[in-house]
Symmetry: D2
Subunit: 160 residues, 4 copies
């Protein structure tokens, strides 16, 4: 009899995945990747995800865009250490899209290596808010982005 998947593992399909090579200074004196680094890995997957979905890089306020997305909340669960010498895989998907915000899920996986067996390293979920830097207010998630995400994920994402 099959064991049902643990919801804390964020089971289910992830279409988007990318690899991230651990850099030596990603580690700390504990010998493994520092906890804060995982927010950086997840950020790389978030930016890559929207580039894959939209077919172009995400407009960044850093590059002059007046409308962009803001990370409002992030929750990480650390499952297993990761080491220098490993190339990790980070998976990302959009969960639900609300009026001005949407959720994302992330999984960080390590392959079998001389540092350990294949394993789930961390999972995370996050809330992003669409934001207008000129008016300094949240704005509706653009319809073009909703359509692109739903097409990419192959399912309805918008609430209601």
């Amino acid at each position: 009899m099959a064991v049902p998947p643990d919801p804390r593992d964020l089971p289910g399909p992830f279409r988007y995945r990318r690899t991230i090579e651990v850099r030596f200074p990603d580690t700390d004196a504990m010998g493994h990747v520092n906890n804060a680094t995982f927010l950086t890995y997840i950020e790389a997957a978030r930016l890559g995800y929207f580039e894959a979905v939209m077919g172009r890089p995400l407009p960044l306020a850093a590059h002059g865009a007046s409308e962009s997305m803001i990370l409002a909340e992030a929750r990480l669960t650390f499952r297993s250490p990761a080491y220098y010498g490993e190339t990790l895989t980070v998976e990302a998907r959009v969960g639900r899209i609300g009026r001005t915000s949407f959720t994302q899920d992330y999984r960080v996986l390590a392959p079998a290596s001389r540092y350990g067996r294949a394993r789930l390293v961390a999972v995370a979920d996050a809330v992003q808010v669409m934001y207008d830097y000129t008016s300094e207010r949240p704005i509706p998630v653009p319809e073009e982005m909703i359509v692109a995400c739903e097409r990419y994920e192959g399912r309805r994402l918008r609430d209601l």
Copy 2:
């Protein structure tokens, strides 16, 4: 009529607080402190908290200790940007202490400065697990640590 405190602000007293000066590379091309840096600020408060409570630095596996605490889960809410040139205050407290784990709350505050008014920058809560690196298993939170935390916080922290 007083507005009741918003529980998302983690209201209530924090006895422990420390300042953290924003370093220039804590910022990113958005112009403000990068989201991952907040896990570093919180880590500094966690290490400082236990040094204040126990009266000595936390034994770190990095320095040869076989028993230490592991960050199992962290949830951050980003409330307002922080900037280079600001000295932030990070508050920390222990929430509840279970058999092998305990929770902590954190608040990151910016003072009024030429970069903005006094404001709540981020709040976070985290779960830590006491861990034996030799047996690779969780271990009970040491009674000495529970007593020291309860004395420091001035209230009962252990779950029944």
Copy 3:
């Protein structure tokens, strides 16, 4: 008979010094502070130096200034490891001021601690260029800055 100072130690007086607390993720899996972190420590001393000399924060292109200084060259010599738990002292001084550039010297020192005896951790020297971000060209070091540096250091700094 006194041993003459080793010129590689950048001997001589430093009027400016500031402390920097080692953060845990400044370390790497070697157990000590990662080499790249020292450029961050030196940057903090550079920004602090000019704030002390000029009596106000350095105008940063990051904050809208059109004229600022650019790090053109840096040379670091690593003398001894530094550890988490240590508060380092970083010393800085201006060496010589040319037409559009000037040199700086830096020393990073660790106090006696449970991690080791008092010691010279690293020395560095650097070349900065005054730069106009609008015209994208080097510009003369402002006379006001030369005067302020010479007053602070108590000696002539400009070439010729």
Copy 4:
């Protein structure tokens, strides 16, 4: 008539090269890659270089090796900014091998992209020392490593 190569550009062949994707927090509030990050890029090339030359990962003290190499000195020249969204190429070669130390040269290059034309971003040279962590003393560069480097570079590297 050909312009002779500028020796400050570290001209000449580099057999080893690897790509490095700029991560968003590699940048700072100036909008481009922070200067300290280049020491991290160079470290990645150094570790990759010896893995390519020796056919196996460099034994790291971080992973229990008692003999390893220590970065003794590094000099960086910053030539042009690099941006998030760029994938850089880092070239590395061994210069000369002495009794207990050896030199390396590095070049960081950006391809033509929407952020700028193809350009030299930074050059660096460094001195590494072979070190025995048990005796805490420099040790001779292993003959096996000299032979492997000379075979890889296709020229004599050892002094005299």
